[in-house]
């Protein structure tokens, strides 16, 4: 069945996400169409990277094959092309059914081989030798070979957008070198012990080379992905329904285990309320959401099982440090102080989740207890602004930055979105004492474009929350500042870059924790981010959905059942 939400917006907006997903974790940035960006984790019980088990399937129950799983997603994607499409959480979820990643996370958060059989670093971690699994074929019969992987890598690297997250980390030539049909070498520019995590998401989802060639001729084929996954493409109507059916000669069947579902149908339903109503009406079996307003509803419904994956992204205000007036740290600080973080939490988190002081939740090993996000102090803010405006500063074009003692600024968000507008109003209320706030509601594409091109003052953003904190580097390093920046705030700090290099390659694990906590401090001191809340993903399913946490890697490691809202289906089955 096709279900429609109002204004099902394409996720092309999610440039950030594209790149993010390349680096193995998903983040929806820039104010989505639903209230998703306002959420935060709620469960305060012990953290599990794997999220709570989705079902407590009674032991005696044995998996049965068959059935169609109906999944509600927060959005649709432009296409399912790992080399070019913007795969946000929704996209990655669909992709995880048709594609297999080279590596994937086990329950301890380590990247373990999946489509790859093994990987070996050189002593200095500068060369990684990867061996592919033998005898794997794509849905179109093409065999999986080194060439396929290299072809995809090169196409991806040359993509104007997706490539942005790849280019800076590899040499122009010989980034990936073929040894034989199943063996190849990666030559990253930086040493990293954690290199394989880069191959757990979009960059790791290997598509059929035959299909990639065809794509070049006919971009519409993006809609019909061809991978090696446990499910293969059946049909797709954009913004309405995408249907995959079981791939009966999946390579993993003997090694990992059978795939039970006959088919999966993905329904993009941007409106969280509608998604809720649908699963309650039995129109869906499974959904994901970050709308904390819904959490209680789910808990109250006996027919539903909810697992909260609270290792989500952080929601924060992001400041463009390259552009007056926020090139002055006092102004950034003032903005932070003027912001009523408590009020925000009270209003927009429906009593769920926790406020964020930094990119880690208190129960994370990397949490830095000394770092507190300043805020809720209008007086201090006023003082700083007075000081700044006292110098009546002007920007490059000689435009005055203050008007009658207040700093002129623009708050940008992507609309139309009721919740985003409410948030904008709220901030305006916070800031208007010290700032003349202009509202700049942009449609999603424009919003991302302006962020990427650095033509903004302040935006609401969702990011971070990497499985492996080292992978957040793409947002932070100087090298990612350019025409289009992934270092959105355009904040360059050599010391920070050095720190990141070390984190990627620490002498000992404990030292690593210390370094990361140092990074957290550095982030705070830059005042490029005002942390608001930790968002968290709820994965909700009806009681007939079973076994989605019984995934195993070829080597038998137990795997996570969800990653920041991204779901997997290989081991899922439906009880009758």
């Amino acid at each position: 069945m096709k279900i429609y939400g109002q204004s099902s917006r394409r996720t092309r907006r999610i440039l950030g996400v594209t790149l993010v997903s390349l680096l193995s974790f998903a983040a929806a940035c820039g104010g989505g169409s639903s209230s998703d960006e306002t959420s935060a984790p709620t469960e305060t019980e012990a953290p599990t990277d794997s999220g709570a088990p989705a079902t407590d399937a009674p032991a005696e129950e044995t998996p049965v094959a068959g059935g169609t799983l109906r999944v509600g997603l927060e959005a649709d994607v432009d296409g399912l092309n790992p080399t070019a499409s913007a795969l946000a959480v929704a996209g990655l979820t669909m992709a995880s059914a048709v594609f297999d990643p080279l590596f994937t996370f086990d329950v301890d958060g380590n990247a373990v081989p999946y489509l790859a059989e093994s990987i070996e670093p050189s002593a200095d971690f500068m060369v990684w030798t990867m061996t592919l699994r033998a005898g794997v074929v794509f849905h179109d019969g093409t065999p999986l070979t080194t060439d396929a992987v290299i072809k995809q890598f090169e196409i991806t690297r040359n993509d104007p957008l997706v490539g942005l997250a790849v280019k800076p980390y590899y040499p122009e030539t010989d980034a990936v070198v073929k040894i034989d049909d199943l063996t190849m070498e990666f030559h990253p520019l930086d040493a990293s012990q954690y290199f394989p995590t880069a191959l757990t998401a979009q960059l790791g989802y290997i598509a059929s080379p035959t299909w990639l060639d065809a794509l070049a001729a006919d971009p519409t084929l993006e809609q019909a992905p061809v991978g090696t996954g446990p499910f293969q493409f059946d049909s797709r109507t954009e913004d309405s329904v995408t249907r995959f059916v079981r791939n009966d000669n999946w390579w993993g069947t003997d090694i990992i285990g059978p795939t039970y579902l006959d088919a999966i149908e993905f329904f993009p339903v941007p409106d969280p309320d509608t998604r809720t109503e649908m699963i309650q009406n039995g129109e869906l079996d499974l959904l994901h959401t970050t709308d904390t307003n819904q959490f209680q509803t789910y808990r109250d419904d006996p027919k539903l099982t909810t697992s909260i994956d609270e290792n989500g992204e952080e929601y924060f205000l992001m400041i463009n440090t390259a552009k007056a007036p926020f090139d002055d740290i006092r102004v950034r600080q003032a903005l932070a102080l003027a912001t009523d973080r408590q009020g925000y939490y009270d209003l927009f988190n429906a009593g769920e989740g926790i406020m964020a002081d930094q990119m880690f939740t208190p129960d994370s090993q990397y949490f830095n207890p000394d770092v507190k996000q300043d805020g809720n102090d209008p007086a201090a803010a006023a003082a700083l602004v007075a000081e700044y405006c006292g110098e009546n500063p002007v920007d490059a074009d000689g435009k005055a930055q203050c008007t009658d003692g207040k700093v002129n600024m623009e708050y940008q968000w992507s609309g139309p979105s009721v919740i985003a507008t409410r948030i904008a109003d709220f901030y305006n209320e916070n800031w208007k004492a010290s700032f003349n706030v202009t509202f700049d509601e942009q449609n999603q594409q424009m919003h991302i474009q302006e962020a990427a091109l650095g033509v903004y003052n302040v935006v609401g953003w969702r990011q971070f929350g990497a499985e492996n904190p080292g992978d957040d580097r793409v947002w932070l390093e100087c090298r990612n500042i350019g025409g289009i920046s992934l270092n959105w705030p355009r904040y360059c700090d050599e010391a920070r870059d050095a720190l990141i290099k070390e984190i990627a390659n620490p002498a000992s694990p404990d030292e690593r924790v210390g370094l990361i906590q140092e990074l957290v401090q550095n982030l705070h001191d830059s005042y490029a981010y005002i942390f608001m809340t930790h968002s968290s993903w709820a994965i909700v399913n009806t009681d007939k959905v079973q076994g989605n946490c019984d995934r195993k890697s070829p080597d038998g490691n137990a795997l996570v059942c969800s990653t920041n809202g991204r779901m997997y289906f290989q081991s899922t089955w439906l009880s009758s």
Binding site: N293, L347, E429, F439
Partner: protein, 292 residues
């Protein structure tokens, strides 16, 4: 047959040639709204934008209470004062729009009705072109392309009212253009400008003015519609916007209906009053039913 003209429609027996109590009631309501719209900030109203959060007790109850007569919305803002302030944009836009419509459309209509010929043909065609867009579609189209502030939104709605107003003015003018007194004026060599101002306008003005209120009602509704779809004045509090905020999520509408319903009530009463008063005026000056 004068005798039978006495056996007039039962209608006339009901509608006596008085404006009546209802009319004045409606006028009072509109007046009150206008007053609030103008002096809102001077009145002892809570701030419509403030979030009434209490670090100790959190947010105030959603439901109407002594401190918040119409309850509070999702963002702990006072629905009552917001509904009051909502009158501002809604009425201003409504008024500005219809005024603009009357100035431009009225002038065009009178001129084309008086001079006829090519001026008439062109402007009439212009009117039809404007009328061949469903008005809301045109309004959305235009507002989406501009930077939406009080002025621009009013102008867009004003533009929409040009065609209907213009047509009326033209029709009304045509009735008088060839009347004896006009011809007489021409005979004694009065300039066209003089004739239009001295002879035509006074006659056209009366029936037109009686339609102003109806027109304003239409404009207010249109603004509401735009705001409801998110195409009205940015950063502004308007009834349409409040209604949308209260009804956007089914959950809100179900749990806190007043957030949407109080603004609806205000809007409804205002439009009703404008319509009723306008209708009375129309019958009073007995102007024909129109598709304004």
């Amino acid at each position: 047959m004068s005798a039978t003209s006495v056996t007039s429609a039962p209608e006339d027996i009901i509608v006596s040639k008085k404006l009546g109590f209802g009319f004045w009631l409606c006028v009072t309501w509109v007046g009150l709204m206008a007053f609030i719209a103008i002096f809102a900030s001077a009145l002892p109203l809570k701030s419509p934008t403030a979030n009434f959060l209490d670090s100790a007790r959190g947010r105030p109850p959603y439901a109407p209470s002594w401190s918040h007569w119409f309850g509070t919305d999702k963002d702990a803002r006072d629905v009552f004062s917001r509904s009051m302030y909502g009158a501002r944009i809604s009425l201003t836009v409504g008024f500005a729009a219809i005024t603009a419509g009357f100035l431009i459309g009225g002038t065009l209509g009178v001129i084309s009705g008086y001079y006829k010929g090519w001026i008439d043909r062109i402007s009439s065609f212009g009117f039809i072109v404007l009328l061949s867009f469903p008005s809301l579609v045109l309004a959305i189209l235009l507002t989406s392309l501009i930077d939406r502030n009080l002025l621009t939104v009013s102008m867009v709605l004003g533009l929409l009212s040009i065609a209907p107003v213009g047509r009326l003015a033209r029709a009304a003018t045509l009735q008088y253009a060839d009347r004896e007194f006009v011809l007489a004026a021409r005979q004694i060599g009065a300039t066209n400008r003089r004739i239009i101002i001295k002879e035509i306008l006074p006659n056209v003005a009366i029936p037109m003015s009686s339609l102003a209120l109806l027109g304003m009602a239409v404009a207010v509704v249109a603004e509401g519609g735009l705001a409801f779809l998110g195409f009205s004045v940015q950063k502004g509090i308007t009834w349409g916007g409040l209604i949308q905020l209260g009804s956007d999520a089914s959950k809100t509408l179900q749990d806190a209906p007043w957030i949407a319903f109080f603004p609806i009530l205000m809007l409804f009463l205002t439009v009703l009053s404008l319509n009723f008063a306008g209708d009375r005026l129309r019958t009073f000056f007995d102007v024909k039913e129109t598709t304004l």
